[in-house]
Symmetry: C2
Subunit: 536 residues, 2 copies
Amino acid sequence: MSDGDLMEGVAAESASLAGHLGLGKLIYLYDDNRVTLSAATDITFTEDRAARFAAYGWHIETVADGNDLAAIAQALTAAREETRRPSLILVRTHLGYGSPHKQDSFEAHGSPLGVDEVRLTKDHLGWPTEPPFDIPDAARAHFREAMTRGAQAEAEWNARFATYAGKFPDLARELRQILSGEPAAGWDADLPRFAADAKGMATRVASGKVMNAIAPRLPALVGGSADLDPSTHTVLKELGAFEPPGLERADTQGSEGGGWTYAGRNLHFGVREHAMGAILNGIAAHGGAIPYGATFMVFSDYMRPPMRLAALMGLHVIYVFTHDSVALGEDGATHQPVEQLAGLRSVPRLVVLRPADANETVCAWRVAVATRDRPVALVLTRQDVPTLDRARFAAAEGLARGAYVLLDPPGGDPEMILIASGSEVGLIVAAGERLTAQGHRIRLVSFPSWELFDAQPREYRDAVLPPALHTRLAVEAGVSQGWHRYVGERGDVLALDRFGASAPGGVVMRELGFTVENVCARALALRGVSPEVAGG
Amino acid sequence: MSDGDLMEGVAAESASLAGHLGLGKLIYLYDDNRVTLSAATDITFTEDRAARFAAYGWHIETVADGNDLAAIAQALTAAREETRRPSLILVRTHLGYGSPHKQDSFEAHGSPLGVDEVRLTKDHLGWPTEPPFDIPDAARAHFREAMTRGAQAEAEWNARFATYAGKFPDLARELRQILSGEPAAGWDADLPRFAADAKGMATRVASGKVMNAIAPRLPALVGGSADLDPSTHTVLKELGAFEPPGLERADTQGSEGGGWTYAGRNLHFGVREHAMGAILNGIAAHGGAIPYGATFMVFSDYMRPPMRLAALMGLHVIYVFTHDSVALGEDGATHQPVEQLAGLRSVPRLVVLRPADANETVCAWRVAVATRDRPVALVLTRQDVPTLDRARFAAAEGLARGAYVLLDPPGGDPEMILIASGSEVGLIVAAGERLTAQGHRIRLVSFPSWELFDAQPREYRDAVLPPALHTRLAVEAGVSQGWHRYVGERGDVLALDRFGASAPGGVVMRELGFTVENVCARALALRGVSPEVAGG
């Protein structure tokens, strides 16, 4: 850990939680050099770091001289022996140690010392200046011992595991299965199906039902929310809270049944979205678990840095973002996501899924569990959306291809395409009915994921959005950014390039233009537009 | 402050900095009710809050009973009397106080008590149950006293200010000017002009020169970076560091000259981007300053929530984001922004400016200072870019319109348009020269800001991007998202829909396709494409 690591908020959130959880295996070696990139810490960072971490419930060790290897070893031993609290070891060091002109200077942080100062430093430390990269034989031999030790440790582990597998073949198979990262065959046997229902249900509610249906056959699934379980519907019921065992806590309200132990599969992150994102990455990188984290869609902004790292590292992390549009209503513009969907889609490799109804939500979870080489974000509604009658509309499994034809006019040959994602699919379905009644030939496309659609072969994409059919209207309660690529220059986008407002969700949607009337009007207007390139 | 406020990382960053700076006017009243939305704090948040804030250097007061008004008043008095440290007052309260079934329960956090429980609560508190909204006359009279007190205070202030203005008319005029939020006439008199130069300079360097040129005539300009001054070039030289006066600090390296006082115009945020964004909002909302904050472009992800609030609230905040593409080189994919430009552009009302050279950077600062009703983000290069010869190319002032024709073929009538922002403008200029030498008729468009261009009248937009001219290539070292709107379905985008890589900047750009050869090839390929709508 560096000074910067201790200053960043994500580290403060994580350290508070680690102290609460009593994570005794965690040890921070803090490189306490009192210099950052631009200055000494005296200009920005003069808090009592040891006292802060003690307040978090950490065990503290101090090493006065970072070159005193015996003192460091002693502190590490003490930290290892402390099994019920994480440990912070403050090690006083000197940046650019031994450099006559740059030691303890911020100029040694981001810039090389330079040829001359390197020579002076070697002189000062009594080190030969030639050859420039010199590794003494004793050092080489010392480091190479690690190879022997590592090979021995691996052989010992393999022998112990073979013995274990001989005695407990089923448990060994399960452990191998979980560590492989691949869900066991049949993990999806209990995925629900939802009956058609005009009133329907919120996709967050459908998601909660899916999670609890699959959790028993998918022991790797662990996770939780940033203090929003009752709203995100992400509790795994009766599967316990991940909390330090054996502690007496005065008030256990809010726990979900199943007890408080380190075997609990529900993680309680507190109001700490950024730490949540980072912790999910750590779990996924370790292996043996498929971690998920939940919060309101607008708060995804708090955890963009770890989401980016998950995408960059190809980690299998699942995000559950609920309350996904201005339709959440009264909480108002601060809580209403508008640009977050575009922001998530902009991250390379991150798969964003915005299912239209309960059955698309089932399929979205199937994709989220099966997509092992990258993170997946599920974008879900607060409000009820109709559960579509799949006898009339195409099967929800089309979600896996990113976009699919939900309905075509009888005999085909549509004159225009209405496109939507998530809760706006219900809107284009209603608009489609009205336009059909007026004698128009309408294709409806459900478009839950740009990334999955872009990965389809050209033939499939052209079948869903035929190149010759220019009359296309996309409807989404978020910023329009990026939709023009799919509707083309002769199409239109009914979107929301402004912030929301505080009123009941239905009122907000109506006032901002998300009505059947407006969808129909915008669609019909397209039929009269001359085909020219817009200036912007 | 709530439990959630104390858990969030941004509050931890801010509190550490407030303690360091000795902000004695700052008082937190902490509503210590031990219940969050989903549970008791026992499940997530058991740190010693008072000890943590003491470690930050805060003064601590505790009130055992939140209904004890005298104790609260006493604690507030003590907090006000402490002028050299911020104060935390922990006030023990009970959520849903007086409710027989919901007091101290998380169910009282986000949901209404309901009609029955409200009646029971009123009964329990000895309050009349009818009428449902009852304000006793004594309470009304007490609150209305605030109107009289406020009117008196305003009258007293106005009288004092009138006396002051009589004695010191120049100072009074300056104060009024600064508080109006409008820069004084002539603030831009010393804006530099940069001579044409093929080697050129990084736009971050040009920005630093602009800032130091305008600072003397623009006393409202205050700000700093999240520990990156030497890299972002955002120091106001010799204008002092905002630091508590009278303190002996052992190590003042990194300060910029001008002393350490509360009059210092350079703010040192430490490695705390999120707090920086939030603090800028506070300064802007207070008025009397035009605050700026700087960091590397990729770290803008850490401060999206406060940037969103600045846009929502219409605050005049200036962000300086440097190291704006994969061309930053060796720091690699973790530090190379790719999706950040699209992410910033997705925020409603936020103006994003990516100037192409030193003189566009001058104009970008002019727009940033003059745009008073919303935040502005300047997106700047680490690497040198050519300073264009404005005798040959159109004037850099075109930046203010978002996009402008940099160069047209002799006699006009271009056959294709090459479009770019920032450092890629130099690339299309070079490609344009090559294509022109091959006999093609090329229009070059510099496109530093989508928001400013979209706000132009249709005639201007059509003049820059003529609707009939379909052969358009946009070039930008970031994700392509959103560019299709400007190039149309018969155009193309040379962008970067993947993460970067670690190598010298020139090598990264070349390997990822940002070469004159590739720009020319992609542009020429467009000339043979048949006009049909792409499936995606």
